[in-house]
């Protein structure tokens, strides 16, 4: 039996059902992220685990015991909030000590533990500061230390990095993961940022409309998206309108150019279909078995990656390549051939994968 289990959990606010029969098992020490857009039910699910929302139907089990009737202050779960929620009337040290004192720990023990926690977040010199004297990143570190001080059975983080600057976000993200690994604490992390979820988690649960769309290791989610929604939500994706040429061989036509998708297609020849390819699955040149030709529309330099937007007929395709200083990047207006493996193609029905809005900067829509 898993450490934390959700069985067919449902949450309704009046007539509005936010979580629709969600089941999940989290192993002890695992780092699991809920990833999804706003309104997908990820935060509500986390708040049900924390006890701030009641469960309309279903059950939440922690270490085998049902949490449904346990009030939030008896669950012993550490919680970190998006807006830090530090106690403004208390110093850093007293914020961290708060939970320990409630747990009835003695003065010496409390002081020792507070010191340990300050060490853990590298803020030993800040014990006597008040929250308003700290930066956002520092406040969130303190909030993390405060949540962990009581040695909770699990750690819950609700978009903890959303209010921070990009640079601090990256550092704190690594710190959270390092601390989580060091303590081996079971962690549930809620975020709308796919890069965050993929980089920090053991497993990612992609949520949509109150259900888990797909759950798996970041590698699986990215490389083998189980549904078109996951495919478009995670990473950048080129979605191309195509027609079926040969269903049994899996051949399709995009803007008059034929290529294979590796698998038979359960559709008639001439039918409309969508083919999705990740930008990094495309390489410049004629080397691969599949090719698409087009005109270079835009070249974007993204640091380590160069993204080339190619116009193929009336559609746009993004191609990512590593930045290689010895190579000359393609010029705008140049004819270019891209090659890719048939296995890189995901074939879906037209209604399952909406086409991006045709624009030169169409790769932005896939990320949004």
């Amino acid at each position: 039996m898993a450490f934390l289990e959700l069985h067919e959990v449902v949450k309704s606010f009046g007539r509005n059902t936010v979580v629709r029969g969600l089941s999940l098992s989290v192993e002890k020490g695992e780092f699991l992220s809920f990833l999804g857009g706003s309104g997908c039910g990820k935060t509500t699910t986390l708040r049900m685990i924390a006890g701030f929302e009641t469960v309309t139907a279903g059950a939440i089990l922690l270490d085998g015991s049902d949490l449904s009737r346990v009030p939030p202050n008896k669950r012993n779960l550490g919680m970190v909030f998006q807006n830090y929620a530090l106690f403004p009337n208390m110093t850093v040290a007293r914020n961290i000590a708060f939970g320990l004192k409630i747990a009835g720990k003695k003065g010496g023990e409390v002081a020792k533990r507070v010191e340990e926690m300050l060490e853990l977040i590298h803020m030993g010199d800040f014990a006597e500061r008040y929250p308003h004297q700290l930066s956002g990143g520092q406040q969130q570190r303190v909030a993390l230390a405060r949540a962990l001080a009581r040695r909770p059975s699990a750690l819950l983080l609700d978009e903890p990095l959303s209010a921070l600057d990009a640079k601090i976000r990256l550092r704190l993200r690594d710190d959270i993961r390092a601390i989580q690994r060091a303590l081996g604490i079971t962690t549930i992390y809620v975020t709308h940022d796919q890069e965050e979820a993929l980089s920090i988690s053991d497993r990612v649960a992609v949520m949509r409309e109150g259900r888990i769309e797909q759950i798996g290791a970041p590698f699986e989610i990215y490389n083998a998206p189980g549904t078109p929604y996951v495919a478009t939500f995670i990473g950048t994706l080129n979605v191309l309108a195509a027609t079926v040429k040969d269903p049994s061989k899996g051949e399709v036509v995009v803007e008059g150019q034929t290529f294979g998708t590796g698998k038979p297609i359960g559709d008639n020849a001439g039918g409309d279909i969508r083919v999705s390819i990740r930008p990094e699955a495309l390489t410049a040149g004629d080397a691969g078995p599949n090719r698409l030709k087009g005109t270079v529309q835009n070249v974007k330099f993204l640091g380590s990656i160069v993204r080339v937007v190619i116009r193929v007929g009336s559609q746009f395709v993004s191609m990512d390549g590593f930045n290689d200083p010895s190579l000359v990047p393609p010029r705008i207006g140049e004819e270019l051939s891209m090659s890719f493996a048939p296995q890189a193609c995901m074939v879906t029905k037209p209604e399952a994968a909406p086409l991006p809005i045709a624009a030169v900067d169409e790769e932005e829509t896939a990320e949004a």
């Binding site: 202050n73 550490g78 929620a85 106690f87 403004p88 009337n89 708060f98 409630i102 308003h132």
Partner: protein, 265 residues
């Protein structure tokens, strides 16, 4: 541009000066008048008379006690209610806002007659108890207490702090006394101050319920004497300003206190 801003600044100062004159001129006039009890010289004779009258301290003491009781009962009723409404029943907020207007709409004299009629015969024969007066004062000061607490709750992240405290194991008493009230300090002090200001000078309820309070005493003095009421007025101003100074002194520089008024950091 800068000259326009400059002239705007000058106008601001003129308006401030006019305002100060408007407020302080009568005070100054009253003060000067209160010093003229002895013909031809300025003296504190009127003040001596005021302090010589045992009724001054008696009535002031009585009103002071009533004010303390009003503050205690008012805060005990309103603070938990307001917190509860913020956390659990935000829909009820407009209803409470409407209730806070009632003490302004219903004159104290109606309130007094209502209290007397309702509580002067069994089973509610409370008219002889000063608690009935306190109850009336709680009603009169309710809008001020509620508005202060409301402003204080609005300025803090009540839900966030509540959930943070709960996730750390805090029950309601810990949450209330360790987290919410320390962060409401400024709001509670302003509620306390306003309540004192109202109760110390209150006339109608005290007269109609026949209690020897400070308000009726001042009114009586005003009818019978010339210089002493002026001295009383100056004294009550002094007490008021002293109270403000005290609040400033207590809250200054303390996080969660006065310095927190600037908003969230």
């Amino acid at each position: 541009m800068s000259s326009r801003r400059g002239s705007r600044l000058v106008f601001s100062w003129i308006w401030i000066a006019l305002g100060l004159v408007y407020f302080f001129l009568p005070l100054l006039a009253t003060f000067l008048f209160s010093l003229r009890a002895k013909k031809g010289v300025l003296s504190f004779l009127a003040y001596q008379h005021v302090f010589a009258d045992p009724k001054f301290l008696q009535t002031f003491g009585f009103s002071f006690e009533m004010a303390i009781l009003t503050v205690i009962i008012g805060l005990a009723l309103i603070v938990p209610t307001a917190i509860w409404i913020y956390l659990k029943l935000p829909r009820v907020k407009p209803v409470i806002e409407f209730f806070t207007l009632l003490p302004f709409v219903i004159p104290p004299i109606i309130l007094a007659f209502g209290l007397i009629r309702t509580y002067s015969r069994p089973p509610f024969a409370f008219v002889s108890s000063p608690l009935l007066l306190v109850a009336g004062y709680v009603i009169i000061s309710f809008p001020y207490i509620y508005k202060s607490v409301d402003a204080g709750l609005r300025a803090m992240d009540l839900r966030g702090l509540t959930e943070a405290a709960q996730s750390l194991g805090a029950g309601w008493p810990t949450l209330l006394f360790m987290v919410i009230i320390p962060n409401l300090k400024t709001a509670l002090l302003s509620a306390l101050f306003l309540t004192f200001a109202i109760v110390i000078g209150e006339l109608t309820l005290a007269v109609l319920l026949a209690w020897p309070a400070f308000g009726p005493y001042m009114a009586l003095m005003g009818r019978n004497l010339a210089y002493e009421p002026a001295a009383l007025a100056i004294l009550s101003f002094g007490l008021t300003w002293g109270a403000i100074g005290l609040i400033q002194a207590i809250t200054r520089g303390r996080p969660g206190g006065g310095s927190n008024l600037g908003g969230t950091h």
